[in-house]
Symmetry: C2
Subunit: 378 residues, 2 copies
């Protein structure tokens, strides 16, 4: 049985649907994953660091990786990915019952990570700092403990957009004045296709204690490694490193972190990043070009508003019957308000340009179908 | 600066103390860590599984590792080590404010992992099931929610001892009758030096929903990998896999799990285990023999009662001045009751036999010092 159908065994999260170009997955293109380079980095880490790469690690993460990351000791904590970082940060910075502000739209699974902490999620469009200031005031006056704001300000998921310089400044001013911790999920920073990405909130705030930055190697190297980091003020880094499970385990992903330090300092990271930037740029252009929509400057996603009377729910069966799929925009908003019903997220990460050009053709064909009948017939 | 003193940078949790044989560390012997075999397994996993080893993994863990572990799909969840397993299990099975029973003595860092959940820890010596039954009854009658019992029943930390067959049966009967979930930390099972280990509570209970078993590769392969697992009834496995951060990350340590599946199925695990069993057996014999105390049948620890009037606190400076150290027994009891003050934990995992024979000699010399003066002079 074991060898009869090896690809049907649950190994990956991704499940292929024959005949469907599924732009719902925010997963890397398989042939871009650095299998050979990772094996080489592992061999070198084992050879050069020996037992130090395999024993219990320093709780905050091993020096070679922290040094390579550049934010410095005391301001960096190595995590098992960005979601793990968000889970740990919410464990330390919130109590169940707290109110947490979340950008709208924002990364849908972050909403679940936060919900698991037992906090109440409230939408707060991050580009409107004045509204957030008023909202925090209202919530606090009515007895809510507002502990933090979560957002993906750079090449955001799902929008692909970035906060402008003015929006960043305004948000930081409000956060500082309101003593509101901003959790900046900076997962997509390195996937910049048209020049440099905007500065991180973390850098703009010069390491002030009201900004926590989350980074990840999931998009730049490989998601399966489960490796990321937190940049924060020293007091928070100490609280993370002092968690019983972190101290007991000797950090949360030591061997992988030691291997990544080799991958980084050997130049493999820079080489790989140049390769994937070029590849994902071409994929972005194929999809955005094929759809005739503006191309985001970075990240993996297009966020499209559908022409009325289409909704994501009515378009989905129409699209899937033609062989293309996507995620419904409502998933990216906390709660059940119905926001995003007229939006879809299309990911251009998983397929090469030719497939994405075809996906764009199929998507346009679905949009050209009679929309009223598509909705009413289901 | 980076290359001036590479060994002083914080890389590992272990910190060498020149001139001290420190038997406080429950860490593997460095030269037994399988650096070459791990590099080989990584290369093979990358070659044979390709992108599947690096992308987002199946949330409960990848099939090749779950199959090799043998408890089956739906009853296994791959974790980032045993401490992570305990952290996740306590997140799902307890609420802050609950009462959690802990064996006495037991693994000291498990106490911190559980305390981080905000539960109240109550000592419950696991060998006395009748007392536990009465204790649970008393606690529940006085309004406490008693959610689980944590113990290391096989080659325990710190005692090295295992529950007898009769104690296991009695504990399971009480747990089933009282609807008390038993969390069996089975970290040391494979380190059996005198024949087979006793059966796991998980196996004795035939997968009943009141037993959760935690396993780990930290002692058998390498702690830095951060890889372990949970065996539990399907409903609990589903709750773990459904955590937002687990789903978002595609499992908690996918690439390492895929590599371990190769390490296991290639025979490298069995070869390595045979090697380290022989090595740790010799280390056990060197320390226990040198001290003239009974040798535990497995695990990494000796748990010694000191002759009066010595206490661990009074002996420590005496021992360290001679060049040997240990952990104070009070660390292994929840709360501040002072239990364990006359006990020490000596680990024989970190040093080769000759060092352990010397450590035993130094320890005995410390015990021969005038104990009253050692205590009163400090």
């Amino acid at each position: 049985m074991r060898n009869s159908a090896p690809d049907d065994r649950p190994i990956t999260q991704f499940v292929a649907r024959p005949g469907v170009l599924d732009l719902g997955w925010g997963h890397p293109r398989p042939d871009l994953l650095p299998t050979g380079a990772w094996a080489e980095a592992t061999a070198r880490a084992m050879r050069e660091s020996g037992w130090r790469a395999l024993t219990y690690g320093h709780p905050a993460g091993p020096a070679p990786l922290i040094e390579w990351l550049g934010a410095g000791f005391g301001r960096t904590f190595v995590t098992a990915g960005a979601s793990h970082a968000l889970s740990l940060v919410s464990t330390v910075l919130t109590e169940p019952g707290d109110t947490v502000l979340v950008d709208a739209p924002t990364y849908h699974l972050a909403l679940r990570v936060l919900a698991d902490r037992g906090v109440r999620l409230v939408r707060a469009p991050a580009g409107d700092a004045a509204a957030i200031e008023a909202q925090v005031g209202d919530l606090r006056r009515t007895g809510h403990r507002v502990s933090l704001l979560y957002l993906v300000p750079t090449f955001g998921n799902p929008t692909g957009r970035s906060l402008t310089a003015a929006e960043r400044d305004a948000l930081l001013r409000v956060a500082e004045a309101a003593r509101l911790t901003v959790v900046e999920d900076d997962t997509y920073r390195e996937l910049a296709y048209d020049g440099s990405p905007p500065p991180a909130l973390w850098d703009l705030a010069r390491g002030a204690d009201f900004v926590v930055r989350i980074g990840s190697f999931a998009k730049t190297v490989a998601p399966g490694l489960r490796l990321g980091w937190v940049n924060a003020a020293p007091a928070l880094i100490r609280r993370l490193a002092d968690l019983g499970y972190v101290d007991s385990g000797g950090g949360v992903n030591h061997t992988t972190a030691m291997t990544m330090a080799v991958f980084g300092s050997s130049g493999a990271y820079a080489d790989h990043l140049a390769t994937i930037r070029e590849a994902y740029r071409a994929q972005r252009d194929a999809l955005a070009g094929g759809l005739g929509v503006p191309a985001p400057a970075g990240g993996w996603f297009l966020w499209l508003r559908l022409p009325a009377p289409w909704t994501a729910a009515s378009l989905l069966p129409e699209a899937e019957s033609r062989g293309v799929s996507f995620l419904d925009g409502t998933r990216f908003f906390a709660g059940d308000g119905g926001d995003g019903a007229d939006h879809v997220r299309l990911s251009f990460s998983l397929y090469p340009p030719a497939d994405l050009a075809e996906a764009a053709r199929l998507f346009r064909a679905a949009l050209s179908a009679p929309s009223g009948s598509a909705e009413s017939s289901r």
